[in-house]
């Protein structure tokens, strides 16, 4: 079907082929107008660049058209339903983009005297306040650049606290449920800990007995996601927290799924010691095709003193920044990023939180949970739910419903693309076979969910009717169809090179 209607140009109506910028180079063109400066009086110490860089020359209209055209090969939340489980793809309000671009923030230099940035520090402090209240936690580290760095930040605080207590050498093991996201074990390892996996019970939660049997004097902490990666609330969480604390260890909570509980359940009331917050998930800062994110970390009292630099304090003359290991920063384990954190993301997140308010945040998380349970209820007889009972903000199915169809989870997801939806998360979490994890978020209307349910049911019927080929050939209607990932990994071509022959790595 793909190429039966071939055209002369290769374009297909609104699907426009677009070469790389390097293939559109024409010396003499330029997209900016700067004078050519004479450098006869220079201070470059004889280290001037010799020869061209090799960048292509394009004019402004070509550049605009190029990036507009390639943008049209992307699917975003603005385009349609994006039920990507564990990623919280919710609406990104544009007012937050507008606010982040106010010159009073965007044109602010990080090294200006703090006397000239009181409004920026006030904004950081206000954003921090909202996050602390939502989580009911006494302290927060704002500087982590993303969720993964937030994890690192939190685990470093735990390590620093244990070392301060003289137990650094003794506590070398971190417990991580087998359903955890890959960053959890990667982070624990990055902090020098060995990772010990905790099995799940048949309800998809941490097996409490197995967990207790692994808890010993050499355990530094547990890294637990709640709601967990199966979209389920860890109902034993308070018991887990108590046991962790009784054993002298710390409780790291992965806050990736805060969207299920914000405004309704405060993580601080569950006994956690620290938790990163993905502002790009729960608080709607745009994912941007893979960042920038922001991962502030709320901290309990025993960890607060070890928070990374810098942080905002209320000083004698208004707000101030603690940038060094002295005074209030004496016990800090140091700096993890340049400057002060993802300011542009704090603005957007605060805009989101203020717009919703305490009532709206509660309503948003409730709607997210309601939407997920609606999908679960409407699809539970069509697909195969992995666990019984209600879910939180995302619902998990395994591939049992595709048994004997010769259609895999991947094939099914690719067919969803032709129906105009972004696929659900596939093959994660690893604890169920051929996982399909759907997270609708509060941004979706009932009409959208109904259309999606209709499509899933229709495709399931098609798979069961024996039409596996349709799925193996999907997607058919996208700018590119399935790509050869094996070839890409065997012979990596990671940059364009002159002469039309791309450089082989």
């Amino acid at each position: 079907m793909a190429d039966t209607q071939s055209t002369i140009t290769g374009n297909r109506g609104l699907q426009l082929e677009e070469p790389l910028i390097f293939e559109q180079d024409s010396p003499g063109r330029v997209g900016v107008d700067f004078p050519d400066t004479d450098l006869s009086d220079n201070r470059l110490g004889g280290l001037e660049r010799q020869g061209p860089v090799g960048l292509p020359n394009l004019s402004e209209p070509q550049t605009v058209r190029h990036y507009t055209r390639i943008s049209q090969k992307n699917y975003g939340i603005d385009s349609g339903f994006y039920p990507l489980g564990s990623c919280t793809m919710k609406h990104n309000p544009r007012v937050n983009e507008k606010l982040a671009r106010l010159p009073g923030f965007a044109s602010l230099h990080p090294m200006q005297p703090t006397s000239t940035t009181q409004g920026a520090l006030e904004l950081m402090d206000t954003c921090a306040h909202w996050l602390k209240v939502i989580c009911n936690m006494p302290a927060i580290a704002m500087s982590p650049a993303a969720g993964a760095q937030g994890e690192l930040c939190g685990m470093m605080a735990i390590k620093a606290a244990l070392e301060d207590r003289g137990e650094g050498a003794q506590r070398t093991r971190v417990l991580v449920p087998e359903s955890a996201h890959g960053t959890n074990p990667a982070t624990a390892a990055a902090c020098g800990y060995s990772v010990d996996s905790i099995p799940a019970n048949d309800r998809g939660r941490v097996d409490l007995d197995a967990f207790l049997s692994k808890l010993d004097e050499d355990v530094a902490g547990i890294m637990l996601t709640n709601p967990n990666t199966c979209g389920l609330f860890e109902n034993d969480i308070i018991k887990i927290a108590d046991a962790v604390h009784d054993a002298g260890a710390f409780f790291y909570c992965d806050g990736a799924n805060l969207n299920a509980i914000m405004g309704r359940i405060r993580p601080g009331d569950l006994g956690i010691d620290c938790m990163h917050i993905n502002l790009h998930k729960t608080f709607s800062t745009p994912h941007g095709g893979g960042g920038p994110g922001a991962g502030p970390v709320v901290l309990s009292e025993p960890l607060a003193a070890f928070a990374p630099l810098p942080f905002v304090v209320h000083g004698e003359n208004g707000f101030d920044l603690v940038e060094h290991k002295s005074g209030a920063g004496k016990k800090s384990y140091g700096r993890i990023k340049g400057f002060h954190g993802q300011m542009g993301m704090f603005i957007r997140a605060l805009g989101y939180m203020m717009s919703h308010g305490s009532d709206g945040l509660r309503q948003a998380s409730s709607d997210a949970v309601l939407n997920a349970n609606y999908l679960l209820a409407e699809l539970k007889d069509t697909l195969s739910p992995s666990f019984d009972g209600p879910c939180m903000h995302e619902c998990l199915f395994d591939d049992h419903f595709l048994k004997d169809t010769d259609v895999s989870t991947l094939d099914f997801a690719k067919a969803m693309i032709d129906e105009g939806f972004h696929p659900m998360t596939m093959y994660f979490p690893l604890v169920v076979h051929g996982a399909l994890l759907m997270e609708p978020t509060e941004s979706e209307s009932r009409e959208t969910l109904d259309q999606y349910i209709h499509a899933v049911k229709g495709l399931t019927a098609r798979a069961k009717s024996g039409d596996a080929k349709y799925f193996h050939d999907a997607p058919q209607l996208t700018p590119r169809r399935r790509l050869d990932e094996t070839g890409a990994a065997r012979n990596p071509i990671l940059r364009w090179a002159p002469g039309g022959d791309e450089e082989k790595s």
Binding site: E485, T486, A489, R490
Partner: protein
């Protein structure tokens, strides 16, 4: 010359005091298209169970453990440019490394071809 198999789906061909190690055909089928193999350098000392090599497919990476204790005498240089050899010829040209045998008794508990066949049949 005899061939032994481990539960980790490695094969070991013993030729005098040198063992050649690779992964079984069953293992390569489970992994799918192999895209990269990290082989150990000659001279590396390994104890039984140490991580010796890594075989990567697009979506998975599997550690290959030293089946016995000894010193690496060679990694298979052909795998650098042609990792797919593991898929096409896992139990011969797709060998991963050769090593010395410090303690031949470590080979005693391993399976022979018939036992391994039964073992794999039990997994399916």
């Amino acid at each position: 010359m005899s061939t032994k198999y481990t539960k980790e789906h490695e094969w070991i061909v013993v030729d005098g005091d040198i063992a050649t190690v690779g992964i079984t055909n069953y293992a390569q089928e489970q992994l799918g298209d192999v895209v990269f193999v990290e082989v150990p350098d000659a001279g590396k000392q390994l104890s039984q169970g140490d991580e010796a090599a890594v075989v990567e497919s697009v979506k998975a990476a599997s550690e290959i453990y030293a089946p016995i204790t000894g010193e690496v005498t060679a990694g298979n240089p052909a795998l650098e440019d042609a990792p797919a050899t593991i898929n096409s010829d896992a139990e011969s040209a797709g060998w991963i490394f050769k090593m010395t045998i410090s303690d031949a008794s470590e080979l005693d508990d391993m399976m022979d071809a018939a036992d391994y066949k039964t073992h794999v049949a039990g997994l399916e």
